[in-house]
């Protein structure tokens, strides 16, 4: 990525920290940021009344949390909760979105990277759906 | 052609490898029977039963289907009366010799409960000596093929070996071909070249009815010594050659075997498989009549008290839905996959497994298929529209890299 974009991203970034058990984001809330996990573990969860809280994926060091900021309706589709003390870099997605409207190249660079993340998640989800370990 | 022995009948063949050619008159054929019976052999050969010529026990030459021939085509088998009394004037029927060496149903062992444990008693395999009377060249090759499966390599089937080692083979050179025969293009006949003790070529000519007999082994020379015979003269040897040549020229079908392994390996997704799947009933007739098919299953049974258990082995067929069943489903659930498995095994993967084709060109699978599916036609159809140029895959002995384009 070009230097100027990197600078831009750095400008939109801040360090954040979540204690174990703390929610990072909540289903339905506005998605205006995303996170690069530096250290720790975050669980993506869904709550079903009769089943309780189900973890659908965990993310750890070096992984990206959150792409809902990039696609309408810009709302989180799940909960994310820190399982242990987690430090991350939070990036102002809303701001980046607005800048991308003006600078398409920035938008393209971001989309290139995020589409990869989404595809990985999609592939993993499909694999999970297959229930390969079941006795059929 | 080997030189005929010019010695007297008391030393019929000083050197068995020289393949003496002698003449045995029709009326003396019973003496061959008697000589074998005298040596303790049970005679098995072609006989007429329920509208077909099958392999069963023979008590005398009178049991042979004299004067009959068969008309065979895809899904068709009919016997017809000949206008002569030839004893071997037909080709092969629904039975093959595998039924005697690899029986359709056989007990492998028995077991008795003994408190918490159990005791297993292996089956004692009877040492009946069998004489196969009337084995065609394609069938000799089929025997050799099944020998590779059951009697070579790390594991040897003791039942197969016990019986096979004691078999005396009287081969017959075909004097005519059947409607579905293609042994010539498979290089498996019609002349018997090895794997027999004696080979007979039947000649009916000018009022005479005799056999030109070729010896193949030491044992056969000894048997021959007991029979009234004399060396074959040139005319008789020529008559034998002509009979075989006539059969070779009458083949009902032809299989192009050039590059057939690579062809089938490259065409697992050929549309022809869908085409044949639309016709194939997966009735498994072809596997039952095929002289080389060897698939089996085991059945564990027990008595009502649960004290006595037995394991039986039975013929099985890759055409059944359960054949490839693993926890929850069958790997080959469609008839398309099952027909493809049978044909690619017979003609392609068999070569990588055992060094030769699994097919001997006997045509039984064509004759006994209720819808007349013809293996030679299926190969032809795939060859004609070989789609492998689009995406060629190499599947072979230890070399299964995929290439594209």
């Amino acid at each position: 990525m070009q230097d100027e974009y990197l600078q831009l991203l750095a400008g939109c970034a801040s360090n954040v920290r979540f204690e174990a058990g703390q929610f990072v984001l909540r289903e339905g809330e506005e998605a205006h940021e995303f996170f690069l996990i530096r250290h720790g573990k975050v669980a993506l969860e869904v709550f079903a009344p009769e089943r309780g809280s189900i973890t659908i994926q965990t993310l750890g060091e070096g992984e990206v949390l959150g792409w809902s900021w990039l696609v309408p309706p810009y709302r989180w589709r799940f909960d994310a909760r820190a399982i242990e003390l987690t430090r991350a870099i939070a990036l102002d997605g809303k701001c980046l979105r607005e800048k991308s409207e003006k600078d398409c190249c920035l938008g393209y660079e971001l989309l290139k990277r995020f589409s990869q993340v989404m595809v990985e998640h999609l592939q993993a989800t499909r694999f999970q759906l297959l229930n390969v370990y079941d006795a059929h | 052609m080997p030189e005929p022995e010019t010695t007297s009948s008391s030393t019929a063949c000083a050197n068995p490898s020289q393949r003496a050619q002698v003449v045995l008159e029709r009326e003396s054929l019973q003496t061959l029977f008697d000589a074998l019976v005298g040596r303790g052999y049970k005679l098995l050969g072609p006989t007429f039963r329920e509208g077909a010529i099958v392999y069963d026990e023979l008590t005398s030459t009178a049991d042979l289907p004299a004067g009959w021939t068969d008309e065979q085509d895809g899904g068709k088998y009919r016997l017809k009366k000949r206008d002569d009394e030839a004893l071997f004037g037909y080709v092969v029927g629904p039975h093959s010799w595998k039924k005697f060496l690899f029986p359709p149903s056989v007990r492998l062992w028995q077991a008795e409960r003994r408190g918490n444990t159990f005791q297993i008693e292996a089956e004692q395999h009877e040492s009946t000596k069998m004489a196969f009377f009337g084995v065609r060249s394609c069938e000799l090759h089929a025997l050799a093929i099944q020998d590779k499966v059951f009697a070579s390599g790390t594991y040897v089937d003791p039942l197969y070996k016990a019986r096979r080692d004691r078999v005396f083979i009287v081969a017959v050179n075909c004097g005519q071909a059947g409607g579905t025969c293609f042994c010539v293009s498979m290089n498996r006949g019609p002349k018997a070249t090895s794997g027999f003790d004696l080979a007979l070529t039947e000649i009916l000519d000018d009022g005479r009815h005799y056999f030109v007999v070729e010896t193949g082994t030491e044992a056969s020379c000894q048997v021959l010594a007991e029979l009234p015979h004399r060396p074959a003269d040139e005319r008789e040897r020529e008559a034998a050659e002509k009979a075989v040549a006539r059969a070779a020229g009458q083949m009902g079908r032809r299989m192009d075997t050039i590059g057939i392994k690579e062809l089938l390996y490259a065409n697992y997704e050929h549309p022809r498989w869908d085409n044949v799947a639309g016709r194939c009933l997966t009735c498994a007739n072809c596997t039952m009549v095929c002289p080389t098919c060897f698939c089996s299953t085991v059945e564990d049974v027990t008595d009502l008290k649960g004290e006595h258990a037995e394991r039986w082995r039975r013929w099985d067929s890759c055409f059944t839905t359960d054949f490839s069943y693993i926890h929850g489903g069958s790997v080959r659930s469609t008839s398309r996959a099952r027909y493809r498995q049978w044909m690619t095994h017979k003609l392609a993967t068999w070569i990588d497994q055992f060094g030769t084709s699994g097919c001997v060109g006997c045509g039984r699978c064509i004759t006994w298929c209720p819808v007349g599916i013809d293996i030679t036609e299926e190969v032809r159809a795939i060859r004609e529209t070989d789609v492998s140029a689009i995406s060629r895959k190499e599947i072979g002995n230890g070399n299964t890299r995929a290439h594209s384009g």
Binding site: N131 | L108, Y268, D300, R336
Partner: protein
């Protein structure tokens, strides 16, 4: 080719649908020596016989260990066995994991579900000769935490400094503090040198295919990846024809295969 009776020492339930049998030879019988990756045909008197991978330590043949899922009449009968009951054993059969050829390289073991059972003997052998290997990584995925096999052992392995163990489940309740995600997702960041690694993969066929994709993405050569295949088996000696997979017989050419040798076969449906 007769089954020999072995005495049941212990039947232990591992997970709701999986159990482990510990067997010992009955008096006068020699111990069964085997290589990791091999299997036995186990016979339940009067019920039937099934192929089960050997899951114990090849260095301790006095006790013959098998771990299996309960999926049919024979395995159901086996689960009901009590200590001192007998089970028929025929074997061992099949090809082995490349434990010795892997010396000098890193080893990554990827197991899915019951697939950890046939891999465990390989891991035992590697750990017994640990200094001959580079990094050793175990990646293990199951459906849920309740399905994790050999839990205590996994925890022991996890605490070793010379072994990297990552366990993940497809889904869990929120009281699970471990990884959630498919086992393939563990490959990308596993600490091994792809250019000097032997990978051994075992689990449901789909899981193995997806895992190989991930390994290839990390540039592990196809000749350095080994899978364990499974098909219907009746005789285990290459006669019954049931276990054929293309030109191979899983009972004698497998179950362990070098990936490049079956790569083309894996892409063909219903073969």
């Amino acid at each position: 080719m007769l089954p020999h009776p072995y005495r049941v020492q212990r039947v232990r339930r591992e997970t709701p649908d999986t159990f482990t049998l510990a067997l010992e030879p009955e008096s006068g019988r020699r111990e069964l020596a085997f290589a990791p990756g091999q299997f036995n045909m186990l016979y339940a008197f009067g019920v039937g016989e099934v192929p089960i991978s050997i899951s114990g330590d090849p260095a301790k043949p006095a006790v013959l260990v098998h771990t299996t899922r309960e999926v049919g009449t024979v395995t159901r009968a086996m689960r009901k066995l009590k200590p001192l009951d007998s089970l028929g054993v025929r074997g061992p059969f099949g090809t082995r994991w490349p434990v010795t050829p892997a010396r000098g390289a890193d080893v990554v073991i990827v197991a899915g579900g019951i697939g950890l059972a046939p891999l465990r003997p390989a891991l035992y052998q590697i750990l017994a000769a640990r200094k001959h290997y580079g990094k050793v990584v175990l990646l293990y995925g199951t459906r849920t935490p309740a399905d994790i096999l050999f839990r205590r052992e996994l925890q022991q392995w996890h605490s070793r400094f010379d072994l990297e163990v990552h366990v993940t489940v497809d889904r869990a309740m929120s009281n699970w503090r471990g990884n959630v995600g498919v086992v393939t997702s563990l490959v990308a960041r596993a600490p091994f040198d792809p250019y000097s690694t032997l990978a051994m993969v075992c689990g449901p066929e789909i899981m193995m295919r997806f895992t190989v994709q991930e390994l290839e993405r990390r540039n592990v050569a196809v000749e350095n990846i080994y899978l364990s295949m499974e098909r219907n088996m009746k005789c285990a000696v290459g006669w019954c024809g049931h276990c054929q997979f293309g030109p191979t017989f899983i009972c004698k050419d497998g179950p362990v295969f070098r990936y490049d040798r079956i790569q083309a076969l894996l892409a063909i449906r219903e073969i």
